[in-house]
């Protein structure tokens, strides 16, 4: 089962390597990982999308929590939450037909074209993993994908619940 873990940790050199190292050392899976300092620069926040059954997840959460730099970890998938990732994708837009079609698909998915070259469009799209997957698949039917990059997901709990020190 896919889970999204949010981790708050000390923004120290080497903190990230401990998290990544732990996952490889203990053969846990990482689907995506994002990291950046928070508004309090002494803290970093990591979002990890991972897969595993309940027992594996319990171990992942405990093992991450055991790292000295980690202040808090929560499994966002346990309750209502919002997740988003950003996709930047460069596709061929050679003629009027394909340009129109790419523009139409982008509008339907509420993406935006953020750069135009002689023969390419670069598109930005934000959404959860399903939406991003669907968008990429739809585009692939219409035109050739030159390059794409995904941020990996970030997530936050709905309502009053917050992950903070």
């Amino acid at each position: 089962m896919r889970r999204i873990l949010a981790i708050l940790l000390e923004n120290e050199p080497g903190s990230l390597s401990r998290i990544v190292g732990l996952f490889s050392q203990r053969a846990f899976n990482i689907e995506s990982l994002t990291v950046a300092p928070t508004e309090d620069e002494s803290l970093s926040r990591i979002t990890i999308a991972t897969k595993g059954d309940d027992q594996v997840l319990e171990q992942i959460v405990k093992q991450v929590n055991k790292l000295i730099d980690v202040i808090k970890i929560t499994d966002l998938t346990e309750r209502n939450h919002v997740e988003r990732e950003i996709l930047l994708i460069k596709v061929l837009a050679m003629n009027d037909k394909s340009r129109t079609e790419v523009k139409r698909i982008t509008d339907i998915f509420r993406g935006s074209i953020i750069d135009i070259g002689k023969q390419v469009y670069t598109i930005q799209l934000a959404g959860d993993a399903d939406k991003v997957n669907a968008f990429v698949q739809t585009l692939a039917h219409e035109t050739e994908i030159i390059e794409s990059v995904r941020s990996g997901c970030v997530g936050i709990a709905r309502g009053e619940k917050a992950l903070r020190v």
Binding site: G14, S17, Q25, Q55, Q59, K62, K66, I68
Partner: protein, 574 residues
């Protein structure tokens, strides 16, 4: 008057003094010469110069295991630091408090593949509790204070501190401030067990008809031996210790049913398999205990008390988990037993003990000594008699380790010192040296084999330098005994690379280092010569004992079986 200023190297030394360090173990080299210069100019602690950095880590480790204090190692950058890796891993697996101070090339050269540069923080990352890169002079004292706090608190473990040379040299000086009362927002180990979980645990204990207490290294680390004994006596429960937990309950206590696991006693493993409640205290259901986890004690309610939440339900699901310091939690359990007016269900308990006595009567831990070669078990029994069971026994890894665990009943915790988790050959001698420094007036034995002793034999030289009169007892079977046992049992008797062809004359070797060497070849000279070895107090004695090379360690769990499926002796199943 202006505030005095110190170099980084002086700060390291002042911090170690402030933390009451008595000994540090190490080896000098380019990046740490400033620290060595500062050590030369102080008298608060003694530096022990080893012959190989791996031995420094094991000495610090042995010292820590025997005293409970943090073991401290100092190594230079590059090879000095990487030589520490095995010792760090050994300490990590057995949760031993240790701080390794490692030199590093100057900050400006880090990442350039400079001479003797290794990313030791990166190399050691999977085998440390935590590590620090020191990046400023002012940080040094508090980083070291934090390293000690982390190493010793919660579930103890090794901490590595990397010190770049430019922070240590006389060019840079700063004020010395140290906060020994460490507070960290990201690290607050649990102390007390959750009251609700304690109530559940006590309920399970009270309803048990066939309880067994399974206690591990956590009891030893937390000095909770007396509390464990109180609890066992209050419940009149059978108690088994893990390899790491030996001495937690005295090996001569009437409720002690032996070590459990791969080479545990039949009664211990049978009690586990048939128990309705297993009270696991500071143990971690290691694969050398459980055997096949799928067949492990399916009918038991498992109460698991541990300071480390990751140890709980990692391999075996715990029905009643309790996270907390083991001494505090046992006290909570005792209090709750009192508060609920606990009384023993005598009928059930009597039936349970009768059953256990039946398993005990098999005498699974036994051997036959005939007129031929000396049996290794016989040596351990002789050692036990001569030292009245009061020696510190530091073991290497292999058959001799198991024989010592089985035939030397340890009365007290911290008396049995061995590499249980990592199984590090070469651990025994340096560990014994660390123990001898801490307890110069006690008998300190290194029980070893002809394979293990040669993995750190260079330390005989260190023993000469600091006059460390340990007694080395080598069960010499001219082969790698445990490897050969497996080859006999599992690999069709093909002894691939398990025969030691050019074993040195250990007696002459010991003498070459200025020690005493004693050779024992026959049974009739065993007791007298061994006694003679223990009478020599001011010199290291190396006793080389020729033992039966065909002897196997029994009992032994049958691979992939349940916890109590065992070979009792060659070809005989329980």
């Amino acid at each position: 008057m202006s505030t005095p200023l110190f170099t980084g190297a002086e700060m390291v030394v002042k911090a170690l003094s402030a933390l009451d360090v008595k000994y540090i173990f190490g080896y000098p080299g380019g990046s740490v010469l400033d620290i060595y210069d500062a050590i030369f100019q102080q008298n608060d602690f003694e530096h022990i110069l080893v012959r190989h950095e791996q031995a420094a880590t094991h000495m610090a480790d042995g010292y820590a295991r025997a005293t409970g204090d943090v073991g401290v190692v100092l190594a230079t950058s590059g090879p000095g630091a990487t030589n520490c890796i095995t010792g760090i891993a050994t300490a990590y697996m057995d949760s031993i408090p240790m701080v390794v101070l490692a030199g590093q090339v100057p900050t400006s050269l880090i990442g350039d593949d400079a001479f003797q540069e290794t990313d030791i923080v990166g190399c050691s990352r999977p085998i440390v509790k935590h590590s620090f890169n020191c990046r400023s002079l002012a940080d040094i004292p508090n980083v070291i204070a934090k390293a000690f706090y982390i190493a010793k608190s919660g579930r103890p473990g090794p901490v590595v501190v990397e010190l770049p040379k430019d922070l240590l040299i006389p060019d840079n000086k700063g004020e010395f401030h140290i906060e020994t009362n460490v507070q960290m927002r990201s690290y607050n180990p649990t102390k007390k067990g959750h009251p609700k979980q304690i109530r559940k645990a006590v309920q399970a204990i009270a309803n048990a008809k066939k309880i067994v207490v399974y206690s591990g290294g956590g009891i030893v680390l937390a000095d909770a031996s007396e509390l464990l004994t109180q609890l066992v006596e209050k419940l009149n429960a059978p108690c088994t210790n893990t390899l790491m937990g030996l001495g937690g309950l005295s090996g001569t206590h009437k409720n002690f049913i032996g070590m459990l696991g791969m080479h545990g006693s039949l009664e211990a493993n049978k009690a586990m398999a048939n128990a309705d409640v297993i009270l696991a205290l500071g143990a971690r259901f290691d694969d050398r205990v459980t055997n096949n986890v799928k067949k492990f004690c399916p009918n038991a309610t498992i109460v698991h008390v541990d300071i480390d939440p990751t140890s709980i339900s990692k391999t075996i699901n715990a029905h009643i988990p309790v996270v907390g310091l083991i001494d505090i939690v046992i006290q909570q359990i005792l209090d709750e037993l009192d508060a609920t007016n606990f009384t023993i269900d005598q009928t059930s308990l009597d039936t349970w003990w009768q059953q256990i006595e039946q398993w005990r009567s098999v005498k699974s831990v036994s051997y036959q000594q005939d007129d031929g070669k000396i049996k290794p078990q016989r040596v351990i029994e002789a050692m036990y008699k001569i030292t009245k069971g009061e020696a510190y026994v530091c073991s290497d890894v292999g058959q001799h380790q198991m024989f010592a665990a089985q035939y030397y009943p340890f009365a007290k915790p911290r008396q049995w010192i061995n590499s249980g988790g990592l199984g590090t050959m070469g651990f025994g001698l340096p560990a014994a040296m660390g123990v001898k420094l801490a307890f110069p007036d006690s008998h300190v034995i290194c029980i070893t084999g002809d394979g293990s002793i040669q993995m750190n034999i260079q330390e005989l030289s260190t023993c000469s330098q600091y006059n460390l009169p340990v007694v080395i007892v080598t069960l010499n079977n001219r082969s790698l005994g445990m490897v050969r046992q497996w080859q006999d049992m599992i690999y069709g008797g093909r002894h691939s690379s398990s025969y030691m062809e050019s074993i040195p004359d250990f007696v002459k070797l010991a003498e070459a280092y200025g020690h005493v060497g004693i050779q024992i070849d026959t049974l009739d000279e065993l007791d007298s010569k061994l006694a003679q070895a223990f009478e020599i107090k001011n010199k290291l004695v190396f006793v080389d004992i020729c033992v039966d090379e065909k002897e196997h360690v029994y009992p032994m769990q049958i691979k992939h079986g349940s916890v109590d499926e065992m070979w009792i002796k060659k070809g005989v199943k329980a």
